[in-house]
Symmetry: C2
Subunit: 137 residues, 2 copies
DNA sequence: CTGCATCCAATATGATACTG
DNA sequence: CAGTATCATATTGGATGCAG
């Protein structure tokens, strides 16, 4: 990390702050609304089938789950194994890389959860000061 | 973590997989496209002014940066100090809580970056196998 | 059951103009 | 400089219907 404070993109010659940084897309797959929850679910659930995942990730639609799973599979974080049975059965699970990433993701999630009381307090203060009670769900 | 594998929301009686879990919103502020980059920039840059941040976070619009900053300030992760000078000067920096969260966020980001070669390889294989070269930027 | 295609609604984002 | 307001657009998300 040099004094410009911008090179944190490892071997690449541009950083995550740049729209051209390739890690930015992956990061979004991982941290996005459904990506993070899907990884979280797989970390806790081990190997899960499509509809098991769907039930675990509250509110996700078929379409979004499918899309999320494809993105994560493409990035090499999730493996998909379809069995040629009838009815069809498809199992999803984290790859070793997916587990490593999931580990750090969970560390982040758990920290945030543990600090929610502080966050909630901060929000109250903010909303009160700004006279905007219903702001931002 | 009980056998249901669902309660990871600490003191609350519902989990992050639920749309009602309060941490979910904060998590999205933190991991969202602009939230994560803004926190990253502040972690590296220390105290920054609005337009300094704007320059560091490539591609962010005035509107999005403003919105992101408000959300993070509301959650108590960023502090905003306006100086009554002319021209106006407003400094943003991470609060202690923001720094803790930023630390774990960066740990995640750096892991992903370090593994990008693997991700890129996985993507090539996937795209080749699915005959869809231009899929997903 | 797994999942893709399609159509429509909701939201997020961006460009621009304007104010203190 | 530091934002806010507004409008146009892009992207996301959801419901439904259909296929293997």
């Amino acid at each position: 990390m040099d004094s410009t404070g911008q090179q944190i993109c490892g071997d690449f010659d541009f950083d995550v702050f740049s729209r051209l940084c390739p890690s930015r897309g992956t990061l979004e797959d991982v941290t996005g609304r459904w990506g993070s929850l899907t990884i979280g679910a797989l970390r806790e659930g081990g190997t899960l089938r499509f509809n098991e995942l769907r039930r675990r990730v509250d509110g996700v639609s078929e379409k979004m789950l499918s899309q999320t799973l494809h993105a994560l599979e493409r990035d090499g974080l999730v493996s998909r194994q379809a069995q040629p049975t009838n009815p069809p059965r498809v199992d999803y699970e984290l790859t070793p890389l997916g587990q490593e990433i999931g580990e750090r993701l969970l560390a982040l999630i758990e920290l945030v959860e543990g600090r929610m009381p502080e966050v909630l307090t901060a929000r109250s203060r903010y909303d009160e000061k700004h006279g905007d009670p219903g702001a931002r769900a």
